[in-house]
Amino acid sequence: MGALSQVRSLGRGLATTFGYLFRPRVTVDYPERERPVPERFRGLHILDRHDGGLEKCVGCELCQAACPAHCITVEAAENPPDAAVSPGERYAWRYEIDLLRCIFCGMCEEACPTGAIQLTPRHDFVAFRREDFLVDKRWLTVPDPAVVAPEAEPVRPPAGAGGKMAG
């Protein structure tokens, strides 16, 4: 009795296991294939541009103020009159997000008056060092179609950031 009972329960367990062979697959071959995310999924951020190539961000810091995780740092400066970065007087020379601290709540997107900061469905981000999750403007800003290769130099404050105007 005892031995038979054990074989039976083994068989029942294996039946469950082998039963899955004949059901539809629930896994995908990530990363070759990705599962679709919901339409309003909040993933990694981008900083958008206007059609002409100007950055939408004006450095108003409202995203920084709205962020419940305090993961955004923005510092603004005066737009150089001859090489404007954004429309108007002000642009963000520094824009950093600490992705490890971000909770992807989307409050920044909600607060943004110009639609510059947007959460995309993208969710794959890996790195080997914690510092690599501190992303700056070069990483966040969508490429300018007019510029072939994005500049490689680090983000630095402009001369007299936010200080005197030129001229």
Binding site: G59, C60, A76, A77, E78, G163, G167
Partner: protein, 774 residues
């Protein structure tokens, strides 16, 4: 709450001094004449306003402080809506701040204000602390009926070295214009054009020229007037406020340091009616750039093989201690330290260096407290009462600017005598008595009858001029305000940083109480004053000199003597923020922290000790002067006392330096007499190394009376050479009718001026040589 309706027909008695009225149904009593807006504010009810400001006269320009009133004066018409800032409270008035008509009126006014106001709050420096934002949210209509194009104007009009104007954002409340008119009695900002084209602008379109432009940025209720230095630096919710006290001059205006992270982004006023009346000058408001200047000393330097090289604090302090104890040593400076640090330096000199050769007076000022020459002390607020003020060869505008604002108010009401070779009170009616510096004592004596007749006279003096002038001033018998040359001159004197004084105004040789607190015998012979110390150094009688927060090469009236002394002295220790001219000659340079980088107390010109907070950290390698003194004292085996010695019952008198460095006699013909007079933005310390002050920094300014300059071929802005005492310096002419003919005025603490001797020859620089020289 008692009303008095039973005034008889034959009783034209004075109306009661208070009136009773109700605000939102609750009864209150106010002094007669109180404006409704003040009354509503006092009882803690909210009321919006733009043009109204507690420190300005009411004008009724913005119309947003609408309240509903009903009562005897308007009884026949029933309740009406009126502006609270131009209507005083009446007996029996019923004020409703939240009635429907009042709400509607405010809503309509706000809708009108927003017709042409751009909605660029996200990029506006005022956004987050803007009254237009806040009141629109609280009282506004929510949406506008105005769908047309807004009027477009200049967005970033550069109004001068510190101010930026956004014409679109201006709501024409006229606070700035009225401040210029009523407070400064200047017209640096005016309204131009009419109707919807009205804009704010500088008087003649030239850059803003006054010293008080920054107050406009705080008065402005919207983001129209903002500053270059704060432009786009931070939003209001970023900043952390730290209350502190300005140490740019001896007045000690109260201010709030605003920090974003570790950096100062702006300084704001912190009203203290007894000191600053709520205002700040541009030097005080914008002179914080030096805290991050690249030239700040961040490591001690020790001279090795003839060159200053970086060293550790241990190396530098042991080198300093060894050098200072190798032979007779003296101490110069201290006028920029905190009260506590001055005391520490005083004790270090007396016990560590065993000398009374210590003097804070490395400039023109001979004493700091009226008691030091046996006179009584005036309060700053006495200016609001006095009927006769003598301005004795002193320029409050250049030496303690915010005091000048108060003096302008005084000059509207009282007699102000502006005595001296340079006109000092420019913006208010005053009696100008021009005289050469050597005639000052005689002219002061002539004023004695007028002072005897005055109700509450007052003398403002910067302590330059020597014992004879001090005697003449003492003979007037009026209380004295001593405007200090250095921010904490008063604290330095009180700490006994003078050759004949001990802390608490005990005389040297009679300091048993000081010795008791310090627990050691004190040197009993009075020491040498600054000139004596420099002479001794020049003649080889001193082995070492310790200069703390001073730059005698610029500030000492006899620059040639300072030059010889610093060259001759075998060992020189300099403690400063920057590698100044004096520090460049040092054997050991100790990097110190600046005024906003250390905590303590600072005494203002009336001896009021005000606490200073440590707002920023400063360079990592620098130490607070107090910490340097503490460590140096340890190296000298002196334990600094924590406790201040008690004040002397009768303060000892200070021996004034003869003539205080002033040179007698004027000039004639080609030779002109030389005067060194303070200028607010001159100097070699924080003024020279502050990027914020760069546009207004004064260097090489040569002020001349226009009379006779044609003959010399000199025009405004001409490059000139000044020759005197075998030295030639270069400068730029500024014609100034306020200068006595026959004299030329250079800025005190401007390098080179103090080396020219008493008489100079002014020659135009030939055009071709203009580029090559300097």
């Amino acid at each position: 709450m008692s009303s008095n309706p039973s005034a008889g027909p034959q009783a034209p008695a004075a109306p009661p001094s208070t009136v009773s009225c109700t605000i939102d149904g609750k009864p209150y009593t106010f002094p007669r004449g109180t404006l409704i807006v003040d009354a509503v504010r006092q009882v803690g009810r909210p009321i919006p306003y733009y043009c109204y400001h507690p420190r300005l006269e009411p004008v009724g320009a913005c119309r947003v402080c609408m309240v509903q009133v009903e009562g005897p004066p308007v009884a026949t018409r029933g309740p009406i809506v009126t502006t609270g800032c131009t209507t005083p409270v009446f007996e029996g008035l019923k004020i409703e701040t939240m009635s429907d008509p009042a709400k509607l009126a405010r809503q309509q006014v706000l809708e009108f204000l927003l017709i042409n106001h751009p909605l660029d709050c996200p990029v506006c420096d005022k956004g987050g602390e803007c009254d237009l934002q806040d009141f629109t949210l609280a009282y506004g209509p929510g949406k506008s009926q105005f769908a047309e194009q807004k009027i477009l104007r200049h967005k970033a009009e550069d109004l001068g070295p510190f101010l930026v104007l956004d014409q679109e954002r201006c709501i024409l409340c006229q606070r700035c214009v009225r401040y210029e008119n009523e407070v400064l009695h200047e017209q640096n900002l005016v309204l131009k054009e009419r109707g919807d084209r009205t804009v704010i602008d500088t008087g003649a379109g030239e850059p803003y020229a006054g010293y008080f432009s920054g107050n406009n940025t705080e008065l402005c209720p919207v983001g129209a007037l903002t500053s270059h230095t704060y432009r786009f630096k931070a939003r209001p919710w970023d900043v952390r406020p730290v209350p502190s006290v300005c140490q740019g001059c001896s007045l000690g205006c109260n201010l709030t340091v605003n920090l974003r992270g570790p950096k100062i982004v702006r300084l704001l006023w912190r009203e203290n009616q007894a000191v600053d009346a709520g205002w700040l000058c541009d030097r005080g408001r914008y002179g914080f750039g030096h805290t991050l200047a690249e030239q700040r000393l961040a490591t001690p330097l020790v001279r090795r093989d003839g060159e200053l090289r970086a060293a550790t604090w241990e190396e530098a302090l042991s080198a300093a201690a060894a050098g200072l104890t190798a032979g007779p040593a003296a101490v110069l400076g201290g006028g920029r330290l905190t009260d506590e640090e001055s005391l520490a330096l005083s004790q270090l000199a007396r016990l560590g260096l065993r000398t009374n050769d210590v003097d804070w007076r490395v400039g023109y000022q001979g004493f700091a407290a009226p008691a030091a020459i046996g006179l009584s002390e005036a309060a700053i607020t006495d200016l609001d009462r006095s009927d006769l003020v003598l301005l004795l060869d002193t320029s409050p505008l250049e030496e303690a600017p915010v005091l000048d604002i108060r003096l302008r108010r005084t000059a509207r009401r009282a007699t102000v005598i502006d005595l001296g070779p340079v006109r000092n009170l420019r913006h208010a009616a005053s009696r100008r008595v021009a005289c050469a510096p050597d005639e000052l004592a005689r002219r002061v004596a002539e004023l004695a009858p007028e002072f005897a007749a005055a109700q509450s006279p007052l003398v403002i003096w910067n302590g330059r001029g020597g014992p004879a002038l001090a005697e003449a001033v003492a003979a007037l018998g009026a209380p004295l305000l001593v405007v200090g040359e250095f921010a904490n001159a008063r604290g330095a004197e009180a700490a006994g940083l003078a050759p004949d004084l001990l802390p608490g105004y005990h005389a040297v040789g009679a300091g048993a109480e000081v010795a008791a607190v310090w627990g050691a015998e004190l040197p009993r012979e009075p020491g040498r004053d600054a000139a004596g110390i420099l002479n001794a150094a020049a003649s080889g009688d001193l082995q070492a000199l310790y200069v703390v927060g001073a730059n005698p090469l610029r500030s000492f009236p006899d620059g040639e003597l300072a030059d010889r002394a610093l060259d001759a002295v075998p060992f020189l220790v300099v403690q400063d923020l920057f590698l100044t001219e004096t520090a460049q000659r040092a054997d050991v340079v100790l990097p110190a922290l600046g005024a906003l980088e250390k905590a303590g107390h600072t005494s203002n010109l009336v001896g009021q000790s005000q606490p200073v907070a440590r707002a920023v950290a400063g360079p990592a390698g620098a130490l607070a002067d107090g910490m340097i003194l503490r460590r140096l004292a340890a190296a000298l085996n002196v334990t600094l006392a924590d406790q201040a010695p008690p004040e002397a019952e009768t303060p000892a008198r200070v021996r004034l330096p003869e003539a205080g460095g002033e040179r007698p006699g004027g000039g004639s013909g080609e030779e002109l007499g030389l005067l060194l007079r303070p200028r607010l933005f001159a100097g070699g310390g924080t003024a020279a190394f502050d990027p914020n002050l760069e546009p207004v920094h004064v260097a090489g300014e040569v002020r001349l009376n226009p009379e006779g300059t044609d003959r010399l071929g000199l025009q405004e802005g001409a490059a000139v050479h000044l020759h005197g005492a075998g030295t030639t310096v270069r400068g730029t002419v500024r014609l100034d009718a306020g200068v006595l003919p026959g004299w030329v005025v250079l800025a005190a603490h401007d390098f080179g001026g103090n080396r020219l001797g008493p008489r100079v020859r002014v020659t135009a620089v030939p055009a071709a040589a203009g580029v090559a020289a300097r």
